[in-house]
Each structure stands twice: as C-alpha cells, then as structure tokens.
Symmetry: none
Subunit: 194 residues, 4 copies
Amino acid sequence: MDEGGRKEEILKAAQTIFSQYGYHQATIRMIADQAQCATGTFYLYFVSKQDCFLALVETLYTHVMEQIMLARSGIENPSEKLKRSLEAAVDVFRRDYELAQVVLVRGAGADPLFEERMWRVREAFSEFIVSDLIECGVPRPQAVIGAHGWVGALAEIVGVWIRRDQDLDLNEAAQEIQRIFWTAWGLNDFHSAS
Amino acid sequence: MDEGGRKEEILKAAQTIFSQYGYHQATIRMIADQAQCATGTFYLYFVSKQDCFLALVETLYTHVMEQIMLARSGIENPSEKLKRSLEAAVDVFRRDYELAQVVLVRGAGADPLFEERMWRVREAFSEFIVSDLIECGVPRPQAVIGAHGWVGALAEIVGVWIRRDQDLDLNEAAQEIQRIFWTAWGLNDFHSAS
Amino acid sequence: MDEGGRKEEILKAAQTIFSQYGYHQATIRMIADQAQCATGTFYLYFVSKQDCFLALVETLYTHVMEQIMLARSGIENPSEKLKRSLEAAVDVFRRDYELAQVVLVRGAGADPLFEERMWRVREAFSEFIVSDLIECGVPRPQAVIGAHGWVGALAEIVGVWIRRDQDLDLNEAAQEIQRIFWTAWGLNDFHSAS
Amino acid sequence: MDEGGRKEEILKAAQTIFSQYGYHQATIRMIADQAQCATGTFYLYFVSKQDCFLALVETLYTHVMEQIMLARSGIENPSEKLKRSLEAAVDVFRRDYELAQVVLVRGAGADPLFEERMWRVREAFSEFIVSDLIECGVPRPQAVIGAHGWVGALAEIVGVWIRRDQDLDLNEAAQEIQRIFWTAWGLNDFHSAS
DNA sequence: CATGAATGAGAGTTCATTCAT
DNA sequence: AATGAATGAACTCTCATTCAT
C-alpha cells in the first residue's frame, strides 16, 4: 500500500509547526491539527514531543550524511572530496529549508537534550572535514579549529539565509566561505572544480 | 560590603540557572532559591522571566560593545582595529563564561523574542566587521558574507569551548580563525600587530 | 440518561460555588471539585473564570427575557403586559434561586466588567418598563425614574428573600410592590388582571 | 494639633481608590501611593484591607444616621419625619459621592463579609422606615415590604446617578420615588412639606 | 488503528502582610 | 511613628500525556 503514510504526515506537520513556532511554543495540538489527526494519534507514532523533535533532527542528519556519501563516492582527490561534501550539505539545507530551520535555528536553546544531540551532529560533521583537511596536508591542530570555524560559518550563513527569507544567494555565499578557507590553507585546485 | 545590589544578586543567580538549564527548564523558583530570596522578590526587580533573560542578553551586549570601543580607541589602521575588536569580544566571552553560555548557547531557540534580539546583536556585530573590511579594501559583497562567516565561526568556537568546559585554548583558536580570514583577504600586516 | 452535558455540569457547579462564596473567593479548584472533574477540564469549556461567570449572567438574562416574551405574547392591554412581565421575571428568580443569587447579589462589585454587564441588563429591563408605562399614559420623565425605582425595589425584595433563605413570600411581596407603583400612577385596572 | 490627620488621609485615599477600582482591583500599594505614605504605614492604622473597607462602610452608615437624627429632631408628624429622614439620607449620598459609590456600588459582591454588613445597614434603615410607616397607619406587613422596596428603589436611583456621572437630578428623582410611595399609602400631606 | 475528552502537575505571577531599620 | 524591601501562600491557566470508546 501507500504505507509510510501516517508517521511521515505527522513528521511533515511537526516540521512545519516547529519551524514556525519553535519547540516550546509549538503544541501537540497544533501539530495534530496540521496533520489532520487527533492528538492521541500523534502518540501512536511518537513516544513524546521530544521524541518527535529528535526524529526530525535525525532526519536532517541522515539526509546530510547520505548526500555527502553520495557526493564523495568515486572521488580520490581529498580537496575535491571536501569541496563536494560541503556543497552536498548546503544543498540539503537549501532543499530541506523548513527542516534546516527547525534543527539549526529553533533547536539550539530549546532543551539541553537537543543541544547535546545537535552538538554531536556538528561534531560529527567537523570530524569529517578534519580528516579531509589532514589528507590535504593541514596539520591536525589547525584542521580541528578550522573545521569548527567552517561549520560555524556555514551555519551562520544558513541562519541568515533562513531569517531573511532566502533573500541571499546561499550557493554563492557558501562558495565565498569555501574560497576563504581554501585560500587560507593554500589549497590551489580551487578553480578546477567550479 | 553594603549592598552589592539585590538586583545584581538575582541577575547572577539567573545567569547561573539559565546557563545550566536553559530558558524554559529554568523556573523562577530555581532562580529565587539560587539567589536565596523568595519568588516574590524576583518580581520586585524584574517584570517577568523574559525581562530578566533579556537583561542578561543586554548585559553581554553592552560589555562586548564597551570593550570593543575601548580596544579601538586611538587606533587608525583599519585591519588593526578589526583585529583588536575581535580580540576584545572573545576576551569578554572568556571572562563572562556563564553569561556567554546563556546568551550564545541557550538563548537561540528559546523564544521568538530572544531570537529576534540575538540576531540583531549578531547583525550589529557583523556590520561592524563589514565596515572595517571595506576600509581594508575588501569589496562589499564579499565583506558581508565574510563578516557573517566570521561571526559564525567565532560563535561556534566559543560554543565548543563552553561545551568542552574550556578544554581548548580559546585565544589560540580565535587567532587561528583570524589568520584564516586574514590570509583569505590578503591582509598582510597580520604579524605586525601581534 | 446519556450526556447531561459536561458544560452544563460545570455551569451548575460554578453556580453553586459562586452563590456560596462570591466571585473572588471562589476558585477554579472549588468549582472543579464540585463538578467532580479536574481543573483542566474546566478550561475545555470556558476560556477563563470570567467567561464562566458571564455565561451564568447571560443564562439568567436569557431566561428572564424568554419568560417575559412568553408572558407578553398575545396581550394587548399595556398595563396587563407590564404586570405579566414583572411576574414572569420574579418567577424566574424564584425558580432559579441560586442563579439569581449569583447574578443579583454576588455579581455587583465583583469586577468592573460584570458591573458593566449587569447595569446594561438592568437598563434593558428598565427601558422595557418605561415603554409600557408610556403606553399607559405616564409621562416619560416620571416613567424613567419610576422604572428604575421599580427595578431597584424588586431587586431588593429578591435580595432579602434570598438572604433570608426564602423566609418571605416573594410572590406576595412582588405584588405589593406592584400595587404601590400601580396606585401611584393611577392605573385602575389592577384588580381585573389578578 | 491638627491630629486626626494620618488615619483620615488614608481613609480618604482608600475611598478614592476603592470607588475607582472596586475592592479587589484596589491594592494597598495604590492606597498608600494615593495617601503618599508607605504600605507599612497603612498597617499602623488598619489591621487589614478588609478592616479599612469596613471602616468606610461604617463611616457612611454613621453619617447617614447622624443626619437622619438631626433631620428628625423636633418633628412630631410621622409622615413628615419619614420624609425628612429620606431626604437627609439622599443628601448624604449626594455630598459623599465617592463614599456612596464605594459602599453602595462596589461593596456588594466584593466579599461575603461586606455583604453581611451592608445588608445589616440596609435592614437597619428599613426598620426605621417601617416604624414611621406604622405610625402613619400602614399595617406592618405592607410596611415591611414597602420599606425594603423603598430602600431598593433609592439605592438603584443612586446607583444610576453614580454610574451616569451625576447626569440626572438626584433630588428630583428621590422626590418622585417619594411621591410614588406616598401616594400608594394615601399619605396626603405630601405637598405641605415641599 | 484512531479518537479527543479528561487529566493534573506545575508554571508564572500577584499582593496582603510583616519587620528590621 | 514611618518605611518599603522582603515574603510566600495561593491563584489562574497551560499542555503533554493517557485511555475508554
């Protein structure tokens, strides 16, 4: 059948509501209304409000990781891999606009539990970059700091993009950020991949 | 001493509680307990929970701006001004550890009102950087993106530093971030100012 | 039976509690306890405590107006219409003992909003009497004052009746009040309608 | 000295505040501000908020009774005594506008305790009228009901007068009410006293 | 599976009252 | 006598969660 229906419907509704109201302002009632179901139905698919929010965080994480893996497959050159990875991540944010808003903007101070999870995601993402940078010849200490900086820079850009209702070319901005870090590390094959 | 100021006591307590629990998990009762006063006393000094939180946000903002102004006074060289501004900001975060945590980490998704306020602060900070960069000869479009990226990178570094309980040299990291952006824009007087 | 209607149950409980304690001494918990439900349930049916109280005021108002309309239907003689109207009103108070107590006795100084509403009701009732009196040939200025006086006299009688736990023949008293005003205005068909 | 100062000042302030906001909306703080003293000072003169309110009720009661006594002194004719008593009472209300508002309008549903006191006052006033009426030859049962009706009618008129900000000739209205009851009881010396 | 009425713990907030100064 | 900062009990209202249907 067209199963996968109900839970995904509710997740979609939750995403919309959370992105609009934030975690605490959003109520189960709102989500249920948006999903056109009863509040009780929500609890058939999710243990709690938290559980549902975390599911969204996981979804974004999974999407990002999937796309990154896809973008890297078959590429040997480490700087090219890194470049494509970042492009893939930004692409996911651009396509999953609402989801990115929920996780990157609304999730931050919502709850210590989410923060924990979100930081693990960022950390994971950073370590990814770190290993690529090391392969590119950047010494580990600088690579670690640079990776965090890069993640932060990207998140800020995405945040600005979301807040300004996309009145900013996310791709262009992401490329400028990339150029900055690229130049700083003397990775000279920058223009070959554009 | 004499006063010490009841309001400051409560602000200090609020800072501690908010930094530990986040805005929504924190309760007025917790704050009052921490400040060793009754809940009613809290309301002698603050109109509401929100009001108190915003007061903390403003405090950090004021501290940062004060220190930046101080660091810039008498400096002519634009890249030197920029460098000192950022160092001053990072210094405030390092000294006001808890406060930075409340505002930068917990405040984000807590409430639409706070988000609004925090983004305005970040925006203000960015525009600061933008004007210095332009003075340094960076074209405006790149300056804008770069400034946002820089703010994001710094915030992330501070976030990591806070989360890891300061197990990271914040100064060193901030300098590495600075080096990255500096190099990317070809600002060659970097070492002359150290 | 089936329902009985949760809302009606709560209204009944509120009526009992309000009549006993007055608006401000009554708490939502008292009402919920009386209605044998949780406090949250109260808020499924009423927006606020005020809303619930006003609902009771409206109920009495509606009952009175309904019965008055019924009593007047098909009657031509203006003094007869007036007489029957007043009897109908008194009848409602006698039957809806508690409700009358809530609205007429407890509602007065409880809240500016209620006062406003209650005075509008009394005003409406007065204007009713005024128009009948004018039809009976009483000049408008006297009719207006007389109508207010009549309403006040009746309210006082009902108040006394309620306070003395009905140890007073309300009907008899109302008729004596009527006789007084009737005589004063020389309406001589008094006995023809008894 | 000009003692009698402080307590009377606070009573005056309380009267103003209670008349404007009603018993429950009024706060000790408001009264203290109006009296230009500290909240603690309030409690030097009154045991509680209730105590202060009751003092106002007593004040009005005393004023009314004093004036009535004065108006009756030396008068023999019972209907004349009654007439002058009522005129004296209405006069007090007219002069002590605010106080009348506090007691007659705001005090009603404020608190079971006040209601109790207020009803005793009204009862006392009624019994006054009753005894005069009996002297005038009105049979006791009718006199009792009539007296209550009269009190109610007067209170309503005063209420309307207060609510409409005195846009109504209170004296005239009171006289019309008097005429009504007078005529109803066949007291024919009405015009001799005007 | 689905419902949505019912729950009740717990939040923010107010304000009459006290008491050290 | 006068102060006003401090108190804390008690209130109204919210909303995540449950469960009988």
